[in-house]
C-alpha cells in the first residue's frame, strides 16, 4: 500500500525538494495515510539514505542540508495531524544547541540542529554568542537531556569548559549530557574538559546524541 508514494517521499528528501516534500505530505493527509507511517516509511528513508551516502563521501553538505530542510518542512505539515490523532512521533530527546559566548560562528551548529531535527530530536537552537547561564537556563526550562556546544575559534573553545564546569557545580550532570563540536575540537579536548562526546560531522553528531539518550 502506498509504496509508490513512500518512494516519492523518500526521493523528495534525497533531492532536497522542499516544495515536493510538502506537497507529498499534504497528499498523504488527503489519502488518509497515518502521518507516522508517512514519516517512517517515506521521508525518514530519504534522510537515512542521504546520511549514509554522506558518510561514504558520496553526498555533500549542500545535499545533506537541503535534505534536512525538506524533512523539516514535511514534518511541519504532518505534525498538526499527529496532534489531532493524539499521537506523536517518537521523540528521541530534547537538545539545546548554542555557540559559546564570544563566538558568532554557526554553520556547523545549524547543520547539527537540522540533522538532529530530521532524526526526531526536539531541538532548541539558541544561536550564537551565548553565555553559560543562558544555555543552562534554557536546558532546565525545557528539560533537555543534551546540551550541544559549538565553538569555531581557538580563542573561544575554552568557553565550552566553562559551561561544563558550571553544570558540574550545579550538580546537573549526568542528568544533562554535553556534546561539543567545532573545527578546533578534538577528542582529546572533549575528554580534557569532561564533555560526554564530540563528533567530526553532523551525521556523527546524530549518532552521538542517540547514544547519549540511550537510543542507539
Amino acid at each position: 500500500m502506498h509504496e509508490e508514494l513512500y518512494k516519492q517521499m523518500a526521493q523528495s528528501i534525497i533531492d532536497g525538494e522542499k516544495e515536493t516534500a510538502i506537497e507529498l505530505a499534504q497528499k498523504s493527509i488527503e489519502l488518509g495515510i497515518p502521518p507516522l507511517d508517512a514519516i517512517t516509511n517515506g521521508f525518514v528513508v530519504g534522510v537515512n539514505y542521504i546520511g549514509d551516502l554522506f558518510g561514504k563521501g558520496e553526498a555533500f553538505l549542500p545535499e545533506l542540508v537541503m535534505a534536512g530542510e525538506a524533512m523539516k518542512a514535511a514534518v511541519a505539515v504532518l505534525e498538526p495531524e499527529l496532534l489531532k490523532l493524539g499521537e506523536a512521533r517518537e521523540m528521541m530527546g530534547r537538545v539545546v544547541l548554542a555557540t559559546v559566548e564570544g563566538d558568532i560562528h554557526e554553520i556547523g551548529k545549524t547543520l547539527v540542529g537540522t540533522m538532529l531535527s530530521a532524526a526526531g530530536f526536539e531541538v532548541t537552537d539558541l544561536g550564537v554568542d551565548q553565555p553559560a547561564e543562558k544555555i543552562i537556563g534554557k536546558a532546565l526550562e525545557i528539560n533537555a537531556q543534551i546540551i550541544g556546544l559549538s565553538a569555531l575559534l581557538t580563542t573561544t573553545m575554552v568557553r565550552q569548559r566553562e559551561v561544563i564546569e558550571e553544570l558540574d557545580k550545579e550538580g546537573l550532570r549526568p542528568r544533562i549530557k554535553v556534546m561539543v563540536g567545532g573545527a578546533p575540537i578534538t577528542r582529546e579536548w572533549a575528554e580534557k574538559i569532561k564533555a560526554d562526546g564530540t563528533s567530526e560531522d553532523a551525521v556523527g553528531a546524530v549518532q552521538l546524541a542517540k547514544k547519549l539518550v540511550g537510543k542507539e
Binding site: I104, I107, T155, A202
Partner: protein
Amino acid sequence: MRPKLTLLSEDLIPRIIEEAYQILLKPGIKVLNAEARKLLAEAGAQVDEATFVVKIPKQIVETALRTVPPTFHIYDYEGNPKVEYGGDTVQFDPGSSGVAVLDPDTFEHKTAETPDLIRLIKVAEQIPQYDAQSTMVVCDDVPKDLHDLYRLYLVMLYSKKPIVTGAFTNKTVHAMIEMLAIFAGGREQLREKPRAVFDVCPSPPLIWSNFGAGNLIALARAGVPAEIVSMPLAGAAAPVTLLGAVTQHAAECLSGIAIHQLAQPGAPIVWGGAPAIFDMRKGGTPMGAVETAMIDSSYAQVGKSLGLPTHAYLGTTESKILDMQAGLESGMGALIGALSGINMISGAGMLDSLLCQSAEKLVIDAEGIAMAKRMIEGMKVHTETLATGFYDNEINFKGGDFLKQKITMKLFKKEQHIPSSVIDRDSIRVWKEAGRLDTFGRAKLRVKELLASYTPPKLDPAKVERLHAFVLDLARKAGMSTLPAHDLSPVAG
C-alpha cells in the same frame, strides 16, 4: 619584467566594487558595536538599532578611501622601517594564533605552551625569509584573559623584528598597544614608528562583531596599523562562487575601512583576509585549496585597484604532518601570493588549517618562500649583451669554461637563490652517507642548528623591566602570581 598573476579581467574589478557597494545598502552590514554604529550614523548611514543592521551609502566609503594611506611601514625594535605595506611589495610572516605545535619526535599536535612559542620565535627570528614575526601560538599555560597579550609579550622579549599580531578583546587591545608603546618610548613614538600591525576580523557574512569593530576604532585612534582579515567561506558563509566570495570580501573590508577612517581619518589599514572555499564533504575551510588562493589573489587585485595595502593567508595546508601535501599546498600558495604582489603573506609554519604551528615547517616553508621571492624578481638583464660577451678568447668548448669567468663569481648569487640544508641537491652517495634523510629529517637538523645559534636581542633593560611590570600586573589580576616567561627570559633580572 616582474612576473605578475592577475586573475580578474579589467572589466570585472569595477563590477565587484559596484556590487560590494550595493551589498552595503542591501542587505547592509550588521554592526554589533555601539560606537561604530554611532560613527556611521553621524556620517549619514541608516542604522536600525533593533537589528543593528547599518546601510552604508557609497559616499561614506569613498570619503574613507580618500584618507587611507596607500603605503606605510612597520618597524623593528630599533625603529628601522623593515616591512613596507603598499604597492607590489611582497613579504612573509609565520601564521598566527595556532593552539598546538607539532612535536617533531612523536608527531603529536600538543597544546602550545610558553616554551613552544619561544622555540618558534627563536627559529623565525633567524630566517631572513620572514620579514616579520607573528604571535604564532596561544599559550595554554596562562589564563585566557592574557592569551593575546602574552604572545606579544614573548615576541617582544625574544625578537627584534616587526610583528603581526591581534587582540582577542576590546580590553586587551589597549593593553597590547600600551606594551608596544613601552618599547617605542611612548604613544606618540609608537604612532610615528609602529612595530606591529593588528589583525582585525569581520565575521562572515557581513558582520562586524563588537570586539572586531571596537578594535578597529581603538587601533585607528592609537595610530597602530590595522589589518582587516575578512574570511568569506565560499558556499557556507559567503556565495559559493569564487567571484561572489571576492565581492563579499570587498563589502566587509569597505565597511571596516569606513568605521576605521571615521574613528581617525588617515590611520593605516590593510585590505587583507583569510578566505576559503567551504569543503562540502568535511565542512572545513581548506586553506591550501587552489580555489582559496584564487579568492586571495583576486581580492588583492581589487584592493590594489583601490590603492590599498594588501595581506592574505596563504602558503599553508590542511595536512597534519610535514608530508608531500603540506609541501605542495604551502609552496603553491606562497608562489600564488607572491605573484599576486600581496604585501604581507601570513601562514608559514602552519598545519591542520591554521591550528598547529611547526618550527620544522617554518624552515621548510622558508625555502618555498625563497623560491617565490626569487621568481618575482623575474628575468634580469645584468650584462650589455645577453650572451655573446661571455664567449671571449678563453672559451675552448669545455664544460667548465664559464666557472673560470670573473663575471660568474660576481653574478651567480644575484641569479641563484642558495637554498639552506633543508633542500637536498646531493648525489645519492652523499645522501646515503648523510643518513638518507627526507625533507622532514633535514628540517629537524636545521631547527636544532638555529636553536643553537640563537642569540637574545639586546634590549633596553629599563624598558624590559617596565614591560615585565606591566604584564605581571595584568597576570596578577588574572590570578597568576608569576609569569612562566619571566624565569625563562634571556633578559630577565
